[in-house]
């Protein structure tokens, strides 16, 4: 008996030690990761964590590193592609070994940035040069620089829309619905494809907060018990449109078994007319069109069907932000990589994305937007941290597919409930959470 007891003791002690050992990554010094003045001065090895496993595999990132070495000959850049980037890096951040340069995972709350990342400089300095820098600002310092940004809207097949007799972008949700109806009547294409099963494309709808009323502060205004789904609110307009599209049967027959990879080819081939996505998808759709033997010129991009003073707006949102780990042993080299990658690599241009550098030109993929005088709304992210806190506390998930999947299920009658009750419930949860999270 005594033996068993002592064994239990050993086990418990071991467990406690292991728990103690796992917690806490140590305090960060708060020292700024400054770029080296002389490129020849900095040397060593840095590791860059990335979610772009495709670019690691096809060697594109190696070629970027080779270009980088022409300027910084003594720095060796290594890449680590991670398929489940969010999930894996989040766990690794409990240790000190999460690379020298990494994309800031969405799960890290903004107030923790100083504990995990080295500051890149004062806001005033970086905001003048880069877009989206307020997204990572904590106490006057910026902790991450966006790789690039994307504009939001619907990617659509021009040929199909033309066949249905629609040549002008719809200007209101009603016109949009009428257009989809026309597509259903006059073509064989699926008017709107939800990508319900994969879920994440449903999240793209949320990115239009700001597009509807051309309000750069649209997200900031959600920070509080403001009932975001009340009539007239941006989320009300957006989610009502989702609901109506589904309710009127303008979507694929069986949304529960959709397939993202196949949907690209289907849109390119004219089997799907429209999808809500970011402008990042345009190059992928064009690629799919080329592969299918179609014409990349058929891929179009249109803004959210809402106008203010006769003009369309499209929000610009940032992609992943690159940051320097607070535990990096080679901060100057890491910073040099970020600066070079953002400013000089031509990465965002190749991806057809909105560059993070303010002075750089808009990409060719957004030519339609530029030609039609769509104004870009660079959304303020000043209070995003609080909005996210409320969102998590309410367990709604503005940037998660679940609530919108439920909305679609409600709209197509697979689950009970009406749109009014659905919105009322969301408002209630949001407001309750705002009262507790905001305190």
């Amino acid at each position: 008996m005594g033996k068993t007891k002592s064994l239990t003791g050993v086990l418990l002690t071991a467990a406690m030690l292991a728990v103690a050992g796992c917690s806490g990554g140590g305090a960060a010094s708060g020292e700024t990761a400054a770029a080296p003045a002389d490129p020849n001065e900095v040397s060593g090895e840095i590791k860059v964590l990335t979610h772009r496993t495709d670019l690691v595999q096809n060697g594109a990132l190696k070629r970027y590193a080779a270009e980088f070495n022409k300027v910084y000959p003594k720095v060796k850049v290594e890449f680590e592609g991670i398929t489940d980037y969010e999930g894996e890096v989040k766990i690794r951040m409990n240790t000190k070994a999460y690379g020298d340069v990494l994309m800031i995972p969405a799960a890290v709350s903004k107030s923790d940035y100083p504990k995990f990342f080295a500051p890149l400089g004062p806001t005033a300095e970086l905001a003048a040069k880069y877009r989206f820098s307020d997204k990572t600002e904590v106490a006057g310092k910026v902790y991450g620089i966006a790789q690039f940004g994307t504009a939001n809207g619907f990617v659509y097949n021009k040929a199909v829309w033309k066949k249905a007799g629609i040549t002008q972008w719809p200007r209101t949700p009603q016109e949009f619905l009428a257009a989809l109806k026309a597509i259903e009547g006059r073509t064989d294409a699926v008017p709107y494809y939800t990508n319900f099963k994969d879920g994440w494309p449903l999240v793209q709808w949320t990115s239009n907060v700001g597009s509807v009323t051309c309000d750069a502060k649209a997200t900031d205004e959600l920070a509080g018990p403001v009932s975001p789904w009340k009539a007239g609110g941006e989320l009300h307009t957006i989610d009502t449109l989702v609901h109506d599209i589904v309710k009127q049967g303008l979507i694929e027959k069986d949304p529960t078994t959709t397939n993202w990879e196949r949907s690209k080819a289907m849109l390119a081939g004219g089997e799907i007319a429209t999808m809500m996505l970011g402008s990042w998808s345009i190059t992928q759709m064009q690629g799919a069109a080329k592969e299918a033997g179609g014409s990349p010129a058929d891929i179009g991009f249109m803004p959210f069907p809402a106008q203010k003073d006769g003009k369309f707006c499209a929000t610009l949102v940032s992609d992943y932000q690159q940051a320097v780990s607070a535990h990096s042993g080679n901060k100057p080299a890491a910073r040099a990589w970020i600066d070079w990658f953002t400013d000089k690599s031509g990465y965002s241009e190749r991806e057809g994305a909105v560059p993070a550098v303010k002075s750089a030109p808009m990409p060719a993929t957004l030519k339609d937007f530029a030609d039609n005088d769509v104004s870009f709304v660079e959304r303020s992210e000043a209070r995003t941290a609080l909005v996210n806190d409320i969102d998590n506390a309410a367990e709604i998930g503005l940037n998660k597919p679940d609530y919108r999947q439920k909305l679609i299920d409600t709209a197509r009658g697979a689950q009970d409930g009406s749109l009014q009750n659905f919105f009322a419930d969301l408002n209630k949860r949001w407001d309750e959470a705002a009262r507790t999270a905001g305190s």
Binding site: L11, S23, A414
Partner: protein, 349 residues
């Protein structure tokens, strides 16, 4: 049905319990010569116990090193067990009393707040209704497995082939099964084409509404786990000595009577184990619905909900508490079940 595959070490005693007690008695007398070590040492002590050994051997028997020997053998499995089972469980219990978000280096102790939340939010428990589908499916699963195990325990042509066919689904990775059945159920997919061959054309979206989606998912679960139950039952049935059947046949017993009076009682412990596994498995269904529907359309289970709390809404503390509650529920149900159906010894002879 079970999401946790049964560790083989646990099946052995259960199967052994079905063997006639004479065999077990013989085994026990073999190792009963008062060895000092724990049960794990009986294997290694066998060599040193031969009678008439020198004094050196006797001192070796008393040396502390000898006592430690079993622990050397156990070190590796124990280290693995502690690292990957007990430490995470202890951490989870600790997290369940905090408001940790899963990433932040800081966490605050909030006492039983998480548990209070779980028990005051009825919608967190509503997902257990989904388990009903899987519970119903596991009744079917056990029935089918029992039927095939009985049939295939008699001499039959292509017997081993059928055994293989039945067990095969259990060997496939759960993720792969999820993807395969996604194609199976999709609009114009395998199931629809299959039905079309039989002249039934269907416009039904199998995963389209909660009832049909949950039934479909439970069906996948039956397909996957029947093989496991089948093998357990087959093993138990085959440990029944053949003379019993012979004797029964001589007395004129038919197949059903043989099943009723020989097979059924002799596999009772395995049967009750299967039921326990089926219930705990139904409560903790995860991978098939998570991969196939992601919990959409009313197919969310308690584990999916917990995972979403932890990794979508960054409520690691609350999710840990939910996991602890699930563990407690399963332990409780198992305990109640053991009380109702005690694991009594089987003695057919």
């Amino acid at each position: 049905m079970t999401d946790t595959p049964l560790p083989s070490s646990r099946t052995t005693p259960a199967v052994a319990a079905a063997t006639p007690s004479t065999v077990r008695a013989g085994k026990r007398s073999n190792g009963s010569s008062g060895s000092s070590g724990s049960s794990g040492s009986s294997g290694s002590s066998g060599t040193g116990r031969t009678t008439g050994k020198s004094a050196r051997a006797r001192s070796w028997r008393d040396s502390p090193l000898r006592r430690a020997t079993p622990w050397f053998f156990l070190a590796a499995p124990l280290a693995l067990l502690i690292t990957f089972t007990y430490v995470p469980v202890v951490s989870m219990i600790i997290y369940s009393f905090t408001d940790w978000d899963g990433v932040s280096p800081d966490r605050e102790f909030t006492g039983v707040d998480n548990y209070v939340q779980i028990f005051t939010r009825p919608e967190l428990f509503r997902v257990f209704f989904v388990s009903g589908y899987y519970l119903a499916a596991s009744v079917l699963q056990i029935g089918v497995a029992l039927y095939f195990a009985t049939v295939l325990s008699f001499n039959l042509r292509f017997r081993n082939f059928f055994k293989g066919v039945l067990f095969f689904p259990y060997l496939i990775n759960g993720v792969a099964i999820g993807f395969v059945f996604l194609y199976f159920f999709q609009d114009g997919g395998t199931l629809d084409s299959l039905l079309a061959w039989f002249g039934v054309s269907t416009e039904h979206a199998w995963l389209g509404d909660p009832t049909s989606a949950n039934t479909s998912l439970a069906g996948v679960s039956v397909w996957r786990f029947t093989g496991l139950n089948f093998v357990l039952f087959l093993g138990a049935i085959q440990s029944v000595p053949g003379e019993l059947y012979e004797a029964a046949q001589m007395d004129g017993a038919g197949k059903w009577q043989q099943f009723r009076h020989i097979i059924a009682p002799s596999i009772k412990p395995v049967l009750s184990l299967s039921v326990i596994l089926a219930i705990s498995g139904s409560l903790s269904v995860f991978e098939i619905p998570y991969i196939m529907t992601g919990g959409a359309t009313g197919t969310s289970t308690f584990v999916i909900q917990t995972v979403k709390l932890a990794f979508q809404f960054n409520k690691t503390g609350l999710a840990s508490a939910a996991a602890v509650v699930l563990l407690a529920i399963i332990l409780l149900i198992t305990w109640v079940q053991r009380r109702l159906v005690p694991d009594d010894k089987v003695d057919l002879v």
